[in-house]
Amino acid sequence: MTKKPNTPPLLPFFLALALAISSVNPLKKWLIFYLLSVFLSLLLSISPSLSSNSEGNALHALRSRLVDPTNALQSWDPALVNPCTWFHVVCDSNSHVTRLDLGNSNISGTLGPELGQLKHLKYLELYRNDIGGKIPKELGNLKNLVSMDMYGNKFEGEIPKSFAKLKSLIFLRLNNNKLSGSIPRELTTLKELKVFDVSNNDLCGTIPVDGPFASFPMESFVNNRLNGPELKGLVPYDFGC
């Protein structure tokens, strides 16, 4: 399970360097050489992330924002080399966090942007707690996410438009919160989305009808201030919002 650092793409760089030097007059040669060497040193200074402790740091930062009266997060020891032995956390064979299972854990507090650093996360399960505040837009960076369950909390603010980047998402359940604003049209691009529930919130505007939204049942939208399905071409889609 050793980690190999990423090598920067040096071959094309040297090719470009050779070409540049051979084809330019002496005056410009030095300028190009200088610029290219600056570029090279920048390239070499880009460091690959060697350890998954950055994911442990992200989870540790999350823990400091949460209030955990039942000590569900007791095993979250940041001194350990990675979070893979922490309870409620599951990693893959490369020690990257793939699951965060904190549903039904009596947790309150808020979320922060650091959750977006868990690049290999597939399951974000925070349902049925008392977490408040806004849903961080950084969650849109979780491009491997398959399931996001934040239902049954006190989340407020809008559904982030950045969720349109969650191209692998199958389950998105945000029901039973205090979310407001409209359902972002951008979510219609999520081709894999099969289960979508925003019922019991304070959403307004109209319900998208494109893409996967064509098949979601009406139960997914009840108990909001939504104005029914989007009327294409006739009414601007978020009127009254």
């Binding site: 200074s45 095993s75 080399v81 032995t85 549903g103 049925r128 099969k194 139960e219």
Partner: protein
């Protein structure tokens, strides 16, 4: 008078002496103060350095920095310490004039946002004992002038962007006397930097080195064997680098070594048995390398080992014998190797043990009752081994357990009757063993349980309904067993079921509980390969989160629930049942005769007969109507022609004239009877004649009986003859 002048002279001399004394002292302080102020100015606006000011009207002789924040002086007024950790400093060290601060003993600037390089001039701080620049944004390389800090006992440059290598000349060269090099070094920390290259063998000349922490940087090459000479070494941390080759055996001579961290490198070969001589060892991390051979057998000889990891290597051979009496063990991770040994014989009692993972080895034996004395155990993972025997009842005493994973072994016997006592258990994975007997009543005591996997065993008896009280269950798999009886409807209470409900490959009979409709978060449902009968309850259309279903190989019949997940499922989801119907390939379509009984057959025959007669009648009437309609249609066109002809001649709709003409017996009429009053009467007799004949024609066209009207062909022939005749 003379006395007075003596006294005053004495006083004057005293004042002069004092003045000179203090001025010399403050003179020294003044250049230090100036250096500090110059540095402060270069940093920009730093509110934390508010106290660093030169009073307005002071002469340079009275400027003392000793009361400034973070500054400590000695009795002579020299600045000996600058302590400014975690105060938000930005800027660089570029303009800190070290040559004016040569009395510095301690420079602590950790946890700020300083950038820039470490100036080479830092080497003039010949008295410096302690230098901490950790957790900043400093870059560049380590200046060679650091070798002049011969008094420095602690250097910490961790968590910066420093690059380059460790130059061997930083260390004493081993010749006596050592004139340069970090001879006094005790604590050397370069954690999480971008420094790479090899560790110079010369490091072995730092005789007092106690803590060497190079974790998570970019070092490669071998672990220098000269480290074995560092008899004062207590902590050696080399984790997270690219070190390769063997562990030098003389590391085993370091009798004061407490922490040896070699985790996550590319080390290989055998681990020297000499490591067993490390009598002070408390932490040994060998995990995530490419070691082979045996684990050092005397690893806990000193009786102090607390943390031991060797996971993810190629270790083979026995569990170290010294582990049996290693009562201090707190965390043990040996998973993913090829270790053999016996679980009951090679391990003892560990009152402090919280985590043990021996998964994916070749360990035999059984879980002995002694494990019940490991009261602080939170995780017991021995999956994927060759364990036999039974699960001892004593396991239920471990009420701190959160995870039990004994999957993929050959454990037999029954589940402990008091399993329900493990109220903190989150995960119970006993999949793929040879467990028999029933699931114990009392299982509802597992009130925290989120994952339950008992699949692939030989469990029998009913599924206890009490399982419906394990309200936190997310994942439930009981497949591949011999469970009998019906599916308890109480499973519908497990509204937290999210990932999977798998009861497949059992002997379950009866119906599918309609209460499953409450499982609105469930994604996958597998009830295949049972003896379930009846229909799939229509209420299951409520299970809005389902993405995968499998009902195949049962005795189910009836229509599928009408949501798309059921209607669009793979045909394999329903194969080999009694009579399921729906819009799925391989299933018959459902009709209203879904419930076929004997009376239905007779009824349907009667309906066919009546329908046939009615159809025949209807057809014949329709055909007659059609024939009639066709004739009528053509003759009504003729009628219209007649009316039109009248209109042209009369200049208006004929209206009542037509009925008069029909009632009158006269066959012939004359034009005079119906002239257009707007036109002058025709003069010639021929025209009148012609027009009269047209009227006669028009009249015959407007007869009541359509069959007595001429056809249009006749009309056109007659008109042509009349026209011809008139010429």
């Amino acid at each position: 008078m003379a006395l007075g002048s003596c006294v005053s002279l004495q006083l004057l001399i005293e004042w002069i002496v004092l003045f000179l004394f203090f001025s010399e002292a403050s003179f020294a302080s003044n250049t230090e103060a100036e250096a500090l102020l110059k540095w402060k100015d270069s940093l920009g606006n730093q509110s934390i350095l508010q106290s660093w000011v030169a009073p307005e009207n002071s002469s340079s002789r009275t400027l003392s920095p000793c009361l400034w924040r973070g500054i400590t002086c000695d009795n002579a007024g020299n600045v000996t310490q600058i302590n400014l950790p975690n105060v938000g400093l930005t800027g660089t060290l570029q303009y800190l004039n070290f040559s004016s601060l040569t009395n510095l003993l301690r420079l602590d600037l950790r946890e700020n946002q300083l950038t820039g390089t470490i100036p080479s001039s830092i080497g003039v701080l010949y008295k410096l004992q302690y230098l901490d620049l950790a957790t900043n944004l400093v870059y560049g390389t380590l200046p060679l002038s650091l070798a002049n800090l011969t008094q420095a006992y602690e250097l910490d440059f961790s968590r910066n962007n420093i690059t380059g290598i460790i130059d061997p000349r930083l260390f004493p060269d081993g010749s006596a006397p050592n004139k340069t090099g970090l001879v006094s070094l005790k604590n050397f920390l370069l954690q999480k930097t971008r420094i790479g290259g090899r560790i110079p063998e010369e490091i072995g000349n730092c005789k007092f080195l106690s803590l060497l922490a190079l974790d998570e940087s970019r070092f490669y090459g071998p672990i220098p064997s000269s480290l074995g000479n560092l008899s004062e070494l207590t902590v050696l941390r080399l984790s997270g680098n690219l070190f390769s080759g063997n562990i030098p055996p003389n590391i085993g001579t370091l009798s004061k070594l407490t922490d040896l961290h070699l985790l996550t490198n590319q080390l290989s070969g055998f681990v020297p048995a000499e490591l067993g001589n490390l009598s002070s060892l408390t932490v040994l991390h060998l995990a995530e390398n490419q070691f082979t051979g045996h684990l050092p057998q005397q690893i806990c000889q000193g009786g102090k080992l607390v943390n031991f990891s060797a996971a993810y290597n190629n270790f083979s051979g026995p569990i170290p014998v010294s582990l049996k009496k290693c009562h201090t063990l707190y965390r043990v991770r040996l998973e993913h190797n090829q270790l053999s040994g016996f679980l009951d014989q090679d391990f003892g009692v560990y009152p402090n043990l919280t985590y043990i993972d021996l998964s994916f080895n070749k360990v035999r034996g059984e879980l002995s009752p002694k494990w019940g004395e490991c009261k602080n155990l939170t995780a017991l993972r021995v999956a994927g081994n060759l364990l036999g025997g039974k699960i001892p009842d004593e396991v239920v005493l471990l009420n701190q357990l959160r995870v039990i994973d004994l999957s993929s072994n050959q454990i037999s016997g029954e589940l402990p009757a008091q399993l329900g006592k493990l109220s903190n258990l989150l995960v119970l994975n006993l999949k793929d063993n040879m467990l028999s007997g029933q699931v114990p009543v009392g299982i509802e005591g597992l009130s925290s349980l989120e994952d339950l996997d008992l699949s692939s065993n030989m469990l029998s008896g009913p599924i206890p309904y009490q399982i419906g009280e394990c309200s936190k269950l997310r994942f439930l798999s009981l497949g591949m067993n011999s469970f009998k009886g019906t599916i308890p409807y109480q499973i519908g209470n497990l509204v937290g079921l999210h990932d999977l409900l798998d009861l497949s490959y059992n002997l379950l009979s009866g119906g599918i509980p309609s209460q499953f409709a409450k499982l609105t978060s469930l994604a996958q449902l597998n009830l295949s390969h049972n003896k379930l009968s009846g229909s799939i309850p229509a209420s299951l259309s409520n299970m809005l989160s389902l993405v995968s279903v499998n009902f195949s190989h049962n005795n189910l019949e009836g229509p599928l629930p009408d949501t798309s997940i059921f209607q669009l499922a793979d045909p394999d989801s329903y194969s080999n049942n009694k009579d399921l119907c729906g819009e799925v390939q391989g299933l018959r379509r459902c009709t209203t005769r879904a419930n076929e009984k004997d009376g239905g057959m007779k009824k349907s025959k009667l309906v066919i007969i009546v329908a046939s007669i009615a159809s025949a009648l209807f057809l014949s009437l329709a055909l007659a109507e059609l024939a009639y309609t066709m004739e009528v249609n053509e003759k009504s066109d003729v009628y219209s022609f007649g009316v039109l002809a009248f209109e042209v001649l009369m200049g208006k709709h004929p209206g009542e004239l037509i009925s008069y003409l029909h009632s009158s017996a006269n066959q012939e009429i004359h034009f005079e009877d119906a002239p257009d009053p707007r036109l002058p009467p025709p003069a010639e007799r021929k025209a009148v004649d012609l027009l009269s004949r047209v009227i006669t024609l028009a009249r015959s066209c407007t007869r009541v009986d359509p069959r007595s009207r001429p056809t249009m062909r006749t009309v056109s022939q007659l008109l042509e003859m009349k026209a011809a005749g008139s010429e």
